[in-house]
Symmetry: D2
């Protein structure tokens, strides 16, 4: 696959390394000797910062290497063999993790969700279809926030999911690969999360870390032996302090949210440019992902200078494309895109 | 677990970050946009460097995040469900990876090996015990080089393992977490490896990288769809270029072996200090790991200033301790240790 | 769950024991000593009878204990970890085997199929959606024949499935829990099967055996080490000869098809009675399963004397019910049902 | 593998069908319609009989198809992913079930046990070696009673295992494939079992049933959702009533123990004949399995008329052979063997 590195990438939010403040933490600490496997002082301090941020001192915090790994470790640890996961049919675990959850033994029960979001009624309807031991037992609701389609959950929506999960005896788990972008766009606050979720992860990879996700486990029943599963599934770094150092940089001050807000703002400018050109969005989003229904000729033209994903054809003339902004996206990159777009 | 960060650590070879030359590659490239998932130019160049180093242009090279992950991905990809692994009873996959290979469905057949090394006769004897479908089918011989006990394989020993594997229809796989240290101590050369092994990984984490291992697959039958298994088991980094950049730094010149030789040399000085004090080694090693039979009082005294692992008691007065040198171990650290040791 | 054993059961085709000719084989041989694990003369003879029936002397035949076990063993043996299964959204493996295939690590890709049957176009469309290593690799098409909705495949339909599988490099596997009923209703013959399928099983449990299914493997690449997987997944009977004896009785003469034709004929009478009462079928079938759209009041009345499954509501007044005939269904049972139906 | 069916088999205890009283239950009920999947009256009655026999009305009883299946279902249901099993190095699950437990994801920790029996000290020593998340967590002690070497546990030995399991927080599970033979030879009673074990299965296949094992779960925490795991792992029979009918025959009266005592008595006669000929036993047993150290020439001679297993060579002239008696072994078979033995 040839890679034209001269193009400006709106392909994803992991095209660059790390925010300089994150990288410099690693540099400064480079020759400090630390304990292995995440038992070091940097990890302890970062976990404390996160516990403070979410306002739950008894939460367990574990640092993991990536999103697929985080999801498969969590679901492996949380579920018994006959238990299944309810998610959207656009969920990352369903579509883009090579069957990682099934490889861990668990069925996904997928619900149609044109905007990428789950809601209580279809969850309840789905759960009630599974009535006996010839079927799997729905046990965990998986949401991504922001979703894979760039939409996000409001506080009220999250509360209604919590309510239906409580009613049905289901766990509620959130993939927060783009949690900063979601919170920046939403009325939900950090401190709401532990009251609404049994566990969730805070994504670093897509928001300014070199790599790394912070798993936050709130439900006491899900806490024991989690580190065993991390190790068993290959998710425990020897130099775990690399994760601790990065999350210290992200959470000791407001850097994490600053970057998320910046990414959303750059996406807003992309959205403005598209609106100017009367390119419709589908779905409409407020986070750092923009999905636009473009004429195929426009896509061909823009592709000469910009890298982005063509998702699926809408009709013979139009295709949905995805444009992603990140902490590293500059106003210059967005302006260049706008100018080229307007000219078409 | 209290962490006294003032102690000098001979605990392992992953207490620090990365060799400065490795880290600066990441810094310099930090804002360069690259393709995701290891499909970038840095990964391609690093893979080429490794192919050149081992003299096998058709080898597949994949960059992975850590040793447990590398082993479980390889064995998952290489084995059918009924197939088993032959290894020593001190093998990392048996003792210290939380049952990762069994969690992937495969039985380990463990052979006693006081020096941590497998040899043809017990492999053949073991393989012949598995005669029918009520038993697993031995299919892959797992060796670590250097071994978990710091010993290493000579070229002749590796050839004899290849021969017995060929005779019995077994695959030969090498965990090279400390491959540099092994090669620096051995008469085997890089270019021997593809002729002797079906697949192996070159360890970065324990030899100067922040993290990362390079899987080299030589046997054509093991190559297809390996990236699917990497992704499925959570081993594919979004910013895969971080691995490519590091392995470029390690293999574009001789840095990888320079660091390994340095670590072995520092271990030689530790061995010399122990010999001076007439502390016996068990087993004797030439790589960067030193196993010494120390009086318990000496261990208590040294533990005040140095971090190292007490392995297992030999008798009521003595315990085997492990001292590990690395690319980051300085002559000053070793001298301090020697001086304190001599004084006891 | 209260069990009223006085009701006449059209609930399924496994409410009774075995056809007397099958049971008497077991009785007659009861004190004959035989080798264990299916390595006895009865299994060899039964396998030969099946090979003759399907006209393929080099097929491997294995006797298994039940349908879920047969499916999970086959798919475990046939697939690599990243490979997935294409099936209908009404497939037994999707709906009623408690996630057995996912528990074996494999994702199911489900296609909507109102009549329970797969066809080439949606298979091809589905297969082409899976383009890279972030997604599973479709590898095996799973069909049931007769289907879970009582429909069956014509010879032409099977040929078109074979063609699309060849085109796309997919395996074609058939769950033949009700294969006799399908063949009795279809223009496909026993001898067509090995030319069309990579592997399939011939169901005994639902057609006159106490229990047991015969797995027929045609594709040479799927044959090696199958017995290892049978044993590993708990499917190898110590007294395997019980399976051999039963399949001898079923296949040494025409008993298997006689029973299937009888079951279909009894279902035809049920269909006739329903037509008389103008109860629509949905879907229309020619095998031993009858799906009828009944008024709910009628269901309540019939349920007092007959056991059968209410499947799903169609509207507030109507529900689809399933009536199943078997080798053990008598004309008297069907007549009683007809008479009670007509009276409503 | 040629099968000479004229030989008298002391090869195992599953060479014949079922005790006539068991088989006639199936015959008599053959055309009675019953509910599927073990939810019928015969299963309920058989479960009640077993609960009464062991004196624990709140035990859960499930009927399963075979020993490997029973073990893998139980351990799958009882263990979390990081949990491991402690067993002997002669345990059936370690040696002769094709890695079924590892295929279910769990490591076996094997202890040397020359007589096939576990004892508290090595269990405690083993358990204490597993200290952190880099290692599996020992969670369940697996014993077979009678053992794979024909020995059995006394009541006192079982109590000491219970005590060490309680001390260490371990579950105690018993494979009772030959439980009747063990109880007939031991001072332990049926009613002791629920006080000593968390779960166990009562073997039918090797003691007069066509097939079938009864899993008894005593520990309340292990009970929920067990039927889901049975179904998922292919262990749920459509005609589950076949198991209920057989266990009714075995446990409504004393038939199960009568057969076990008979088998042990026939083995006693084999032991007497061997003693007469001064053939040593290794190990000495009181159950239906006899392990004798025979000169190789004697083995060759006896093999012409008798089928039995040669286990392993002791020296160049001697081999351990296994002779097994069962409910179906007759005095005539034993006398014939004795006479031929004496003549050698």
């Amino acid at each position: 696959m040839p890679q034209n590195i001269k193009k400006i990438r709106f392909e994803n939010d992991y095209s660059e390394g790390a925010h300089p403040a994150v990288l410099s933490r690693i540099q400064e600490a480079n020759l400090v000797q630390r304990a292995g496997y995440g038992l070091d002082d940097a990890c302890l301090a970062a976990a404390d910062s996160i516990r403070s941020r979410v306002g739950r001192q008894d939460a367990d915090v574990h640092f993991l290497t990536g999103g697929t790994s985080a999801n498969l470790i969590a679901l492996t640890a949380f579920l018994r063999p006959h238990e299944a996961v309810i998610c959207t049919d656009t969920a990352h675990i369903h579509v883009h993790e090579t069957g990682a959850i099934e490889a861990a033994g668990h069925k996904l029960i997928t619900l149609s969700a044109p905007d990428g979001k789950l809601s209580p009624a279809p969850i309840e309807e789905a759960a009630l279809r599974f009535t006996d031991e010839h079927m799997v037992k729905p046990r965990l609701v998986f949401i991504a926030n922001a979703t894979e389609l760039g939409t996000h959950y409001t506080l009220s929506e999250l509360r209604s999911l919590r309510a239906v999960c409580d009613k049905l005896g289901l766990l509620l788990y959130m993939d927060g690969a783009r949690l900063g972008n979601a919170l920046a766009a939403s009325d939900a606050e950090w401190a709401d999360l532990p009251n609404l979720l049994d566990a969730f992860y805070i994504g670093g990879t897509k928001n300014g870390a070199l790599f790394g996700e912070a798993m936050v486990i709130v439900n006491d029943r899900l806490k024991p032996y989690f580190r065993y599963v991390i190790k068993q599934r290959g998710g425990m770094m020897a130099k775990g302090f690399l994760l601790g150092l990065q999350f210290q940089a992200l959470f000791e001050n407001d850097l994490y949210m600053e970057m998320a807000r910046h990414a959303n703002a750059m996406a807003d400018e992309l959205r403005a440019a598209l609106a100017e050109k009367r390119i419709p969005l589908s779905p409409a989003t407020k986070t750092n992902q923009v999905f636009a229904v473009m004429p195929n000729g426009m896509i061909r033209t823009l592709s000469k200078r910009y890298a982005f994903h063509a998702m699926q054809p809408i009709d013979e003339q139009h295709t949905v494309v995805r444009l992603v902004a990140s902490w590293a996206t500059t106003r210059e990159m967005v302006s260049a895109f706008r100018n080229d777009l307007i000219k078409i």
